[in-house]
């Protein structure tokens, strides 16, 4: 068994709700071959450094899994046949990275839960009549959808940088034409 890290870029045209489907397909491809998915990190939507298939943005995901090397062709085949995945890369990774990713995912999930709990608390106050079960539903929906505020500042600056460099690119484009 080896440890692997797969990075995929999902097309921005795919609705966010359908992302899980793509990820599920991947994990079934892995588990079918005696592998196991450990962590999925959502890198969220970010600007691409260059245009791919006429799109400028993509939704990044990092998937950490352990499996035998024979799984890799299967996984790559899945990536290739899935049109929504516009780029992918599978690399071997270290145990430290594996654990760091798991920790990060856990802290992100916790922060998302906390944010959701706060939000639902506000909802409860404003509309006390809302049933507890309904509040729970909104909470779970929030955990799934809220872009984690736990994203470290480093990543945020990175995003800002990407945007600024992108802005430069746009300035220059009209000159080309």
């Amino acid at each position: 068994m080896e440890l692997y890290e797969a990075m995929i870029i999902i097309s921005p045209e795919l609705e966010k709700d359908d992302h899980q489907e793509v990820l599920d397909g991947l994990s079934s491809a892995i588990t079918k071959n005696n592998g196991s998915v450990s962590t999925v990190l959502d890198w969220r939507r970010r600007r691409l450094a260059y245009e791919i298939d006429k799109v400028q943005e993509g939704h990044y995901y990092l998937i950490y899994f352990s499996a035998d090397g024979t799984v890799i062709p299967e996984v790559e085949h899945y990536f290739r046949v899935t049109d929504e995945i516009i780029r992918f890369m599978v690399v071997r990774t270290s145990e430290e990275e594996f654990e760091a990713a798991a920790k990060k995912a856990a802290s992100e999930a916790e922060a998302a839960k906390k944010a959701a709990a706060e939000e639902s608390a506000v909802v409860d106050e404003s509309a006390a009549a809302v049933g507890a079960s309904e509040a729970e539903v909104t909470e779970s929906a929030d955990t799934a959808e809220t872009p984690e505020p736990a994203q470290d500042s480093q990543e945020k600056t990175a995003e800002a940088e990407v945007e600024s460099s992108e802005a430069e690119g746009e300035e220059e484009k009209p000159a080309d034409e």
């Binding site: 870029i9 450094a49 990044y60 890369m89 690399v91 600056t157 990175a158 940088e161 690119g169 080309d176």
Partner: protein, 76 residues
């Protein structure tokens, strides 16, 4: 003789060694950015002052980053 003129070249220190990086990570593209020119080329060791080991890792990391559209292949 003439070459001796001017300032002594300052000894550069590999920044990855200073930070005790074991593997240069392609995912930290904001860090890698410092080691590419504004055209997107890899900065030579003579400029960056990296040690050979880390320069090799850096080059591979930059290339991986480029594939995943985290860094540009070229900028006009």
């Amino acid at each position: 003789m003439r070459r001796d003129r001017g300032r002594k070249p300052k000894k550069k220190i590999c920044s990855f060694c200073v930070e005790k990086v074991d593997d240069v990570d392609y995912k930290q593209y904001d860090k890698l950015k410092r080691f590419v020119t504004e055209r997107g080329k890899v900065l030579p060791r003579r400029i960056s002052g990296n040690c050979a080991k880390h320069q090799r890792q850096l080059t591979r990391a930059i290339k991986k980053s480029r594939i995943m559209a985290l860094l540009p292949f070229s900028m006009e």
